[in-house]
């Protein structure tokens, strides 16, 4: 019953995919560079959305890899490499952060508080440029270290089939969990909550976390289902394994809605001006429609789409709903960032397109690059056989 009985033939991704990825990457890059030349402030605002979105996918994927080790799950083992590939986006995070940090003054107004603004001056021990950059670097290093060691052990297992490497990764994952919770929380506070530096909400870190895991899961689901339908994993993987993906997407959709509603209801009910101002910014002018749209795209559509039992293991439905949810996370981040700057109404132009295109290209290119070097299936993993045999 060793995992050596699993037959896996490597199949290269078609070169077309690589071309698409590179084209998107270049187009996105051109738009972003032009954007930074024409309107640096607005580009930097979009850059925040782009950066936090990639953090969500990259670090969120690492979270799922770690959860698999910690919980001893087997159904996801044949697909775990997808999460590992996506988490390699952690490596390129600095390239997304640097242009923003160069324009830090035009997005974060706590960098230059008015002398009369006592509240912001009170927050200066936390909200100052040096400490902010320090946190960005430290968080990135934490993610990088755990990414490096967890995926290294996993790759090594392809050759050695050593069970001890799984145990080592279980331990690494356990240490990663609390660090993940803290780094994601403070990333949310730093990059998103401090855009409205007078506003505060204790649940905000959990709110971003709920979007993070959903986005990572959605991105992973798209890759897993599309590749498995074309036979890139092991041949006999049963659609029962999809059910777990669908159920998790459904569960985290509800979790996001629960957290978002808790935050909204408590602030609405207490009606304190220092808290409601944030929601009022998102209800002014046509932002109202954007906010209602968030409810639709982030909750109602995926909720209805994934509610029934058969829909959770239907590959087409899964890809559609995962795409909706991935889009919803970008939409959510836009909703978190943009109303802070444009109080009168929604802004949308070609500058807004740069980062989504770049990120799509980036994710595809990184995935292709990784899949050329590493097996798509962790062939040495002791849980692989059980994962392939998994039935509901």
């Amino acid at each position: 019953m060793s995992s050596s009985s699993v037959e896996y033939y490597r199949k290269e991704l078609p070169s077309k995919v690589q071309t698409i990825g590179l084209v998107l990457l270049l187009v996105g890059l051109v738009i972003i560079i032009l954007g930074y030349i024409v309107n640096p402030a607005r580009s930097a605002q979009n850059n925040i959305i782009g950066f936090t979105f990639v953090v969500s996918i990259a670090v969120g994927s690492l979270f799922f890899v770690a959860i698999e080790y910690l919980s001893g799950a087997v159904w996801s083992t044949p697909f775990r490499r997808v999460g590992e590939f996506l988490s390699s986006l952690i490596v390129i995070l600095p390239f997304l952060a640097i242009p923003l940090l160069l324009n830090i003054n035009s997005v974060f107004h706590w960098t230059h508080p008015k002398p009369a603004d006592k509240i912001l001056i009170g927050k200066a021990p936390y909200l100052n440029v040096q400490f902010f950059i320090f946190r960005v670097i430290v968080f990135w290093l934490i993610w990088l270290v755990f990414y490096y060691f967890i995926t290294k052990n996993s790759r090594k297992q392809d050759q050695t089939k050593d069970q001890f490497l799984t145990t080592a990764n279980v331990k690494l994952s356990a240490i990663f969990m609390p660090l993940f919770a803290l780094t994601i929380t403070f990333t949310a506070i730093d990059w998103l909550m401090s855009l409205a530096p007078h506003w505060f909400s204790t649940i905000f870190g959990v709110y971003y976390f709920s979007g993070t895991v959903l986005a990572a899961l959605a991105a992973g689901t798209i890759f897993i289902v599309l590749l498995n339908e074309r036979g890139y994993f092991v041949e006999e993987i049963h659609t029962d394994s999809y059910y777990s993906l669908g159920a998790l997407l459904f569960a985290f959709t509800n979790f996001w809605a629960y957290i978002a509603f808790s935050q909204f209801l408590l602030i609405w009910y207490a009606n304190l001006p220092e808290e409601t101002l944030w929601f009022l910014d998102r209800w002014n002018g046509n932002w109202k429609f954007f906010s209602i749209g968030l409810l639709l795209v982030h909750f109602l559509i995926p909720y209805i789409g994934l509610l029934s039992q058969p829909s959770k293991s239907n590959p087409k439905r899964l890809v559609v709903m995962a795409s909706v949810l991935l889009f919803a996370h970008y939409y959510d981040l836009y909703w978190l960032v943009m109303p802070n700057f444009y109080k009168d109404g929604i802004v949308f132009g070609w500058i807004e397109l740069g980062f989504p295109i770049l990120i799509a290209g980036l994710v595809i290119s990184v995935f292709v690059y990784k899949s050329k070097k590493v097996n798509l299936v962790p062939i040495g993993d002791p849980k692989l056989k059980r994962g392939i045999d998994f039935r509901l």
Partner: protein, 455 residues
């Protein structure tokens, strides 16, 4: 260090017992007459329960002036106990419904007991809002109905939402528990020779004949009920947290309350399940059914939820400073350094520091250690509610009305009595019904599932 073999699924039960053996072992406490120890335990819990009766008698006769509640502190032991007991109930639904949805087979040994505990804990919790009314005979007004005076309940109050949430939760938990019991009632019906018992079991087993079709329907109902119970359990403690968080009292009004209350509830509930099951498995010789592996997994859940609670405390403190709101900053400093600092530090040490011992595998697998930690967790979780409720009320915006709250003897009697009430039910439960689900446990014996065939 022992190495784990990841290539095969770990057995839930130890030593592969025969199916007949399991039936006999689990139904033994029901089929035999209770022994002396049982009566000793029962007399202890009944004595505690009598304290509740006396405490409530005094309260009803003289009014709630018998309690320590004073002017700023209008909510104290009564609401603390309510939140505590509702929280205890949460582990039951987590184990029976949420872990079921997550396909965690190790839950089978402990699910039945945990569900039963949920029901008794919610019953205990339900006492407190009633007695807090002061005139409990008017409790009927809590339910909205078109009365002659056209007086309606206040639909915008979370206190009313509590009435709906807790009563719905209780109903669904009871149904869920009963549905799980049906096949076991049928087994008991087949086993007993006693005429009267046979009639009772026949009625409750609803004509169950162990047919294939029965099982199919049963599994579908069980899945659907688990799906219903999951949002319900989250909603209950969420709404309990709304009781505080919708107000503008510093220390109460904070947006993280809903998930943090739910995590705290699961945390204390698991500690309680773990405590009682350690005793049950020893007395009834269930050590191979409720294994050390199962207890270790429970301790991991305790560590996880305890850390979530710690995250909640930390976030509250950080945001209180970050907000720049003076009243918030004062409230949190007052908790840690003010007159109730002793309660605050009991809470921190029991809920955040002690559970960290579960990072060490040896502690997760040593019975006396885990038992002691879980006892402290329940102490800590009771104090958490005390800290939240009492410190915020005793010193709010107006320093001239600050006051220190001290419980009275009657408060203490009601608190101890509530434990008596709860444990009396538990004792009757373990003698009257199978504490472990016979049907489910038989399904996780090695070889019972198709995926086991290659063993």
């Amino acid at each position: 260090m022992s190495t784990v073999d990841y290539t095969r699924e770990l057995s839930v039960l130890e030593a592969k017992p025969a199916l007949r053996e399991l039936d006999d072992l689990i139904s033994k406490p029901i089929e035999t007459k209770p022994n002396k120890k049982f009566y000793i335990a029962l007399s202890i819990t009944l004595s505690m329960l009598s304290l509740l009766v006396i405490g409530l008698g005094l309260t009803f006769y003289f009014g709630i002036g018998m309690w320590g509640n004073n002017n700023p502190v209008g909510w104290a032991f009564d609401i603390v106990n309510f939140v505590f007991w509702v929280g205890i109930g949460h582990a039951g639904t987590l184990i029976s419904a949420i872990l079921f949805l997550f396909r965690q087979k190790w839950r089978t040994g402990i699910a039945r007991f945990a569900e039963g505990m949920t029901i008794f804990a919610v019953m205990t919790a339900g006492l407190f809002p009633l007695i807090h009314l002061g005139r409990p005979w008017l409790a009927g007004y809590l339910f909205p109905y078109p009365s002659q005076n056209s007086i309606w309940v206040n639909f915008t109050s979370p206190l009313l939402w509590d009435v709906f949430a807790v009563s719905t939760y209780f109903t669904v938990s009871l149904i869920f528990w009963y549905v799980g019991l049906v096949p076991d009632f049928a087994t008991l019906r087949e086993k007993t020779n006693h005429k009267f018992k046979k009639i009772i079991y026949s009625v409750f087993s609803l004509g169950w004949r162990f047919s294939n079709r029965h099982w199919q329907n049963y599994e579908m109902v069980y899945l659907i009920l688990a799906g219903f119970a999951t949002p319900l359990v989250l909603s209950v403690h969420t709404i309990v947290s709304f009781d505080f968080a919708v107000s503008i009292i510093p220390g109460w009004h904070t947006t993280i309350f809903p998930p943090y209350f739910v995590a705290g509830a699961v945390f204390s509930g698991f500690a309680m399940v773990q405590n009682v099951l350690i005793i049950v498995r020893k007395i009834f010789n269930y050590e191979h059914i409720i294994t050390l592996d199962t207890l270790e997994k429970m301790n991991k859940v305790i560590l996880l939820t305890g850390s979530m609670v710690g995250y909640g405390y930390a976030m509250e403190f950080f945001i209180a400073w970050y907000s720049g709101v003076e009243a918030e900053q004062f409230t949190f400093l007052n908790r840690a350094l003010g007159p109730y600092a002793w309660a605050f530090w009991i809470m921190i040490s029991c809920n955040v520091l002690l559970p960290q011992l579960f990072w060490i595998k040896k502690n997760r697998r040593t019975i006396p250690v885990m038992f002691a930690i879980a006892v402290f967790i329940n102490v800590g979780m009771w104090f958490e509610r005390f800290v939240i409720i009492v410190t915020s009320l005793s010193r709010d915006f107006l320093p001239s009305s600050w006051a220190y709250y001290k419980p009275t003897l009657v408060d203490g009697m009601i608190l101890i009595g509530s434990f008596g009430f709860f444990f009396t039910w538990i004792l009757l439960f373990v003698k009257a019904l199978p504490v472990v689900s016979m049907a489910e446990v038989k399904a996780v014996v090695d070889g019972a599932q198709p995926s086991h065939k290659e063993l």
